[in-house]
């Protein structure tokens, strides 16, 4: 009965708040002026949050708004979104927090947020604080300013925030990307040189961001790590660089993760997944591309569930290491480090 009464209220509230958020996003500069700029990630979070709110997945919406706030902590619109998501879940402490931030960041919105803020304070038992806000909210809601605001919201684009930024934003962002790909100069050890102090402080080393995950410390976070013997592969006419064969391994020891069947079918990738380069020139599959039968391997399984009947290794070929003493030592050392002792 209560739910029946509350449902239309909540639906109406959602449409209202989504429209408010759309308006905020429509005038993007107000949302980003204080922060570094609308990153693709930020837009993704906001898009996801809106989608989640529309679908009634409030918890997800709350989490996405929190992520967006993490990236743009001075954008009041995201706090409004957070407060709406939390309101639907009756998390009034969060509503109060979010609206307090809105008022702090944009004091001009104080009247607009008063009612909801007062309501949240009321639910938190802070009666004395709640009364003036509730009264202010009631006073504001019938004011010409509120009517003007509602008219503006009603005429703003109401829905569909793209999950990827509009081309104008992308092109603007692209124009700000550094085109100068000149590497950081080598240290000259001479503070008086053109490179100045920076050249001494920074040693030149190029970091390939695509390969940032390709470390043992990253691999150790896989769901499963096993030692397994290579036993062969399933022959097929269709094996090539980007269509790897199904290699059969037999698990001899599980170093980490849930118990698995001893027979381990592995997608035997020939490339490191983050590598952007294509197949090497003249590459052709043959038996010599596969390991020796019976050879032991350390296999990092990103997830302990197969995909198309095969387990994926961490970062493609990076997730297979010959199980020699040196590698085993390294892996055991990393496992020790991550054992939370």
């Amino acid at each position: 009965m209560v739910i029946e009464r509350e449902l239309p209220k909540l639906k109406a509230r959602y449409k209202w708040s989504l429209a408010l958020l759309s308006l905020g996003l429509a005038f993007m500069p107000s949302a980003f002026a204080q922060d570094e700029g609308p990153s693709v990630t930020l837009m993704k979070y906001v898009g996801k949050a809106q989608e989640a709110m529309r679908a009634g997945r409030n918890q997800e919406a709350r989490d996405e708004f929190r992520k967006a706030i993490g990236l743009a902590p001075k954008t009041p619109e995201y706090y409004i979104g957070l407060s709406d998501a939390c309101y639907a879940m009756k998390e009034y402490d969060q509503v109060a927090f979010a609206l307090q931030k809105v008022i702090e960041l944009n004091p001009a919105m104080k009247d607009e947020c008063s009612g909801e803020y007062g309501e949240a304070l009321f639910h938190l038992g802070r009666y004395d604080e709640a009364v003036p806000y509730l009264k202010a909210g009631l006073k504001y809601i019938d004011s010409p300013a509120a009517k003007a605001r509602r008219t503006a919201i009603a005429s703003a684009p109401p829905v569909s925030i793209p999950s990827t930024p509009p081309p104008s934003v992308l092109s603007a962002a692209a124009s700000t990307q550094p085109h100068d790909t000149k590497p950081i100069p080598l240290a000259t050890e001479n503070p008086a040189s053109a490179e100045g102090w920076h050249s001494i402080a920074t040693k030149h080393h190029e970091v390939d961001i695509n390969k940032a995950n390709q470390t043992l410390a990253g691999a150790i976070r896989c769901e499963g790590i096993v030692i397994a013997e290579y036993q062969g592969y399933e022959k097929s006419d269709n094996i090539n660089f980007f269509h790897p064969p199904k290699a059969k391994f037999r698990i001899t020891k599980i170093l980490k993760g849930p118990p698995l069947n001893k027979d381990l079918p592995v997608r035997y990738e020939f490339k490191e997944r983050s590598s952007t380069s294509g197949a090497p020139a003249g590459w052709k599959f043959s038996d010599d591309k596969m390991p020796a039968k019976g050879s032991p391997w350390i296999i990092f399984l990103e997830w302990c569930t197969p995909r198309d009947g095969m387990f994926d290794t961490y970062e493609g070929s990076f997730g297979r290491l010959p199980a020699d003493d040196e590698n085993l030592n390294k892996v055991y050392a990393e496992l020790e480090k991550h054992s939370n002792r």
Binding site: F27, P29, E119, F122, Y127, I141, R150, P157, P158
Partner: protein
């Protein structure tokens, strides 16, 4: 880094087509917000025993939707509890008139009338309330009957006394 404002022309036609709907929903949402906030204030004033302020909020709530029988019933119940029985009856009666099939509304008028010792009127409302108030109906009806008999007896005595004189 400042980005140009996103043009609103995109989707404007769609916006215009749905704006009517949105405004309709907005006014509903706006009203439901007001109701919620008035209710918050009522709870606060009640907890602090600030009767005039609570009544003021109830009155505002009634004004928001004069056809809401439940609000009138709650307002009446609060007035009744605070001893303002006549005012309570006004609200109860309006609630009962709006929703005659609700036994609680009818029964509440009956209870308030009993507080004012208007038993025969109360019986009428208890009758409308139905089985839920059957106990109160029979008690009140019996009491009304007794009162009638007492009155008849008193009238008889007065008549005889007058004849003796």
């Amino acid at each position: 880094m400042i980005f140009p404002a996103r043009p609103l022309s995109l989707g404007l036609a769609l916006a215009l087509s749905v704006s009517t709907l949105l405004v309709g929903n907005a006014s509903y949402a706006q009203n439901s917000k007001k109701v919620e906030w008035h209710r918050c204030l009522i709870s606060i004033y009640k907890s602090k025993n600030q009767v005039p302020q609570a009544c003021e909020e109830y009155a505002a709530l009634v004004n928001l939707d004069p056809k809401d029988a439940q609000v009138r019933f709650e307002y009446g119940a609060y007035l009744h509890k605070m001893g303002r029985v006549k005012d309570a009856i006004v609200q109860y009666r309006k609630a009962a008139d709006m929703n005659p099939s609700n036994p609680d509304y009818q029964g509440a008028v009956g209870d308030a009338l009993v507080s004012l010792k208007d038993y025969s009127s109360a019986v009428a409302y208890y009758q409308k309330a139905g089985p839920k108030y059957a106990g109160k109906l029979s008690t009140t009806a019996a009491y009304v009957q007794q009162l009638r008999q007492i009155n008849q007896y008193n009238a008889e005595i007065k008549k005889r006394a007058a004849e003796d004189e």
